[in-house]
Symmetry: C2
Subunit: 236 residues, 2 copies
């Protein structure tokens, strides 16, 4: 049989294909805490449990996996998060009651204020503090996935300023530093933190300042390419 004939008679249902989904682990930083977006499942299995946004690819709508995760996250937040990166693909025969199942997970970051799920009209999506997850009995292995994403963010905090995407467009250095400290799990020397950011020229200083009870802090914006910058030496 030549390839043309093969393709004409090909039916992908013949293959031993697992269930395949795409999940988006969307984190943000709000009120000094790290939060993740959860949605209430409206379908079986694990109906009515909370889980991360995600679902199946739509062969009509999506040209790539990135399209799928972007579409799913936009459905729940109203916007496309400014930072989306593939985390890991998990596949085995026990994570889903329906049998062999694969999920490709993405880590995403956005500002809390930019998310329409904050609206009181939305009841099937909410930001949840990561410390509160153990009591929530999430769907499938989603709690494990969220911890995996958090580990990745910790690494990012050690050698980049990617966590800044979890902040509003304009933010202060003390805010960013606190977020990094939260992710890394220990205090950072203020001087070290500022030095490396200044030397790598990653931020744009604005004229604005905001006060938090003491001397007002300068607001900064990220430069376009700063998310891709990696320091040659880690913090911690």
């Amino acid at each position: 049989m030549d390839e043309k004939t093969y393709l004409e008679t090909y039916d992908h249902h013949h293959f031993d294909t697992p269930l395949f989904s795409v999940d988006g682990l969307l984190y943000t930083y709000h009120e000094q805490q790290l939060k993740v977006l959860l949605v209430k499942r409206s379908n079986h299995p694990d109906k009515d449990k909370w889980g991360v946004p995600g679902g199946f690819i739509d062969k009509q709508l999506d040209n790539s996996l990135e399209d799928t995760v972007t579409r799913k996250l936009k459905e729940k937040t109203g916007i496309i998060p400014p930072y989306i990166e593939q985390l890991k693909t998990l596949g085995n025969n026990h994570r889903d009651k329906r049998g062999w199942s694969v999920t490709t997970c993405y880590t995403a970051l956005m500002a809390h204020q930019d998310c329409s799920a904050n609206s009181s009209a939305v009841s099937d999506a909410q930001w949840v503090n990561l410390d509160d997850l153990p009591e929530m009995d999430l769907a499938f292995d989603h709690e494990e996935l969220i911890q995996l994403g958090r580990e990745r963010l910790k690494q990012k905090a050690l050698y980049s300023i990617v966590p800044a995407y979890a902040l509003p467009e304009k933010f202060t250095l003390p805010q960013l530093q606190h977020l990094h400290e939260l992710l890394i799990g220990k205090k950072i020397q203020k001087k070290s933190f500022r030095r490396r950011i200044e030397q790598a020229d990653l931020l744009i200083e604005t004229n604005e300042k905001v006060s938090d009870g003491g001397r007002p802090a300068t607001l900064y914006r990220m430069k376009n390419e700063s998310g891709g910058y990696t320091f040659i030496r880690n913090l911690g």
Copy 2:
């Protein structure tokens, strides 16, 4: 409908599932060059072209994606490579003529000498120098995948000694350094390279030495946990 009824009547063929495969990018170092294992495709599509080892999951044989890639690599090499790590999942509607297709790729390393594909009896698998790939017209997007894996290995070379898994069990520091230089694409200071490995106590010195025309070099073995060690400061 309750969950029990749902699961009893569930048929995964109802879903808009893409084709899903697992690929193993297996690299090694031999005769001063970086090589990747290719196998000749025996089935459509892209029949008779060369590509990386991989295939579909087998719901009977595999409990996880790692099982799948391990099984596929063992089929072609005779052993399970000592280093296997997930690289990336690529999914879109144009990489496979059959339509929407997803592949989860793993990067793997092993010693050239340990691979039974070197046997003259094997004609459907071969190690190919990475520089020779452009002339080979590989199947699907496999050339791109191989470059992605190579990029990841370059990063590993900057902050770990993971590339050592591409060498025989016993190897010399000049061998390892040359492999790192190949991956990074530039010369490393001999002193810097040795210092960091010694300080982190990553290798076991053997009594044996091998000569390469000058003063014989000491053979070393990796410690068990050394693959997981990351330096806090990069080379380069």
